[in-house]
Structure formats: structure tokens, C-alpha cells
Symmetry: C2
Subunit: 82 residues, 2 copies
DNA sequence: CTTTTTTTATGACTATAGTCCGTAGACCAT
DNA sequence: ATGGTCTACGGACTATAGTCATAAAAAAAG
């Protein structure tokens, strides 16, 4: 599974956990509404600054969001070298 | 202090701690030699994929590199709202 | 059902991440 | 001096992050 897809899924979880719409999250993070949608579907790769902005809007630590991606990628069985 | 400058400084620390040259790190991460230099000087903002690639080359967890940036930004006295 | 809110999708666009060429300076050894 | 290794920096370039306007599908809600 690619990094951006995993990140997108966790971004969505965080957002829904906060009860925010994509539009509200976009507004808080000074990002475009449609871009949040692209991120959640794994169609874009956020820069470090964007990650920090999103995390702040979600009252989360950027490192925690990254850690979740990291852990899911580590436990992902697909595409491991034999 | 900006996110990218802080990240750049920590990237350099990690790299020097591993005893790697910019060129070696670039090769391991499939990035350009000059781009590593730009990153370390805070002239570029890496995407999440680039962060993961760099971390892997440095035998570090991406979330740990982010956490160091996070902590330094949190303890940075400059530009805090009164 | 109808209405409203939310999300997906497209296409055209601007800003910037990341590449690739080179040059110059610093440092360390011959 | 000269050669090697390393990093800073330049400009020109390609790829993609992120914006904007809009339409339409999907979900909630009434």
C-alpha cells in the first residue's frame, strides 16, 4: 500500500473523529476543499508544512499522524520481500 | 522559525550522525545531490514520501524526525502569540 | 418523496518540489 | 602547487502539489 493512500485514510479517520467536514478542515488549514478530498483518496502527497497545518487543525501531533502511517505500512503484509 | 528550516537542521544532524555525505544520502534515497543541500538549508519542503525515503536511508523512523521538528517548534520562543 | 449538506470528479491553472547541468570555494591530503 | 572530497549555489528544466470554478453523485435530513 502506498504512503499517500495510507495517509489519506488516516487523515479521514482523524477528521471524522473530530466531526469535521472536508470543507471545515480545509478552512481551518487554509487549504482548498477539493484538495482535502484528493488527499483523503490518496491522490496527492502533502508537504511537511501541509502535514503540520492539517495536524494543528485536527488537534493532533504531526508525528502521531505520521506514526500511524508508519505502523500500518510496517504491518502491511503485501509487497514484503521474501 | 519555519518548519522547513528546522527540518533541514535535523536532517543534517541525522545525516552527519550516520557519517554520510549528502551525495551518499541522495543516492540511497533516490534523490538529487543538490536537493539534499536545498533541504538541509531549508530551501525546500519535502513531501511525505520524501520524508519516508530519507528516514529509511538514515535508519530512523519518519515520526521521530517529525517529532524533533515538532518539539523544537514548540519550545521556540520567537513568534508566540502574547 | 424533496431539500440540504457533503463528497467526488474534471479540467485548467499557478506555485513549488525535485532534477540535472555546471561552477566555485573550503578542507585535507599528497 | 595539485588532486580528491565535500558542500553551496546558479539557472533551466520537468513533475507534481495545491487552487479555483463547476457539475454531479451520494448521503443525510426533513
Amino acid at each position: 500500500m502506498s504512503i499517500e493512500v495510507v495517509f489519506g485514510r488516516h487523515l479521514r479517520k482523524f477528521r471524522e473523529g473530530k466531526g469535521l467536514s472536508q470543507e471545515e478542515l480545509a478552512f481551518r488549514s487554509n487549504l482548498d476543499r477539493t484538495y482535502i478530498s484528493l488527499l483523503e483518496r490518496g491522490k496527492r502527497r502533502p508537504t511537511i508544512n501541509t502535514i503540520f497545518a492539517l495536524a494543528k487543525s485536527l488537534d493532533a501531533a504531526p508525528s502521531d499522524m505520521i506514526k500511524m502511517v508508519e505502523l500500518e505500512l510496517a504491518t502491511d503484509i503485501t509487497g514484503r520481500e521474501p
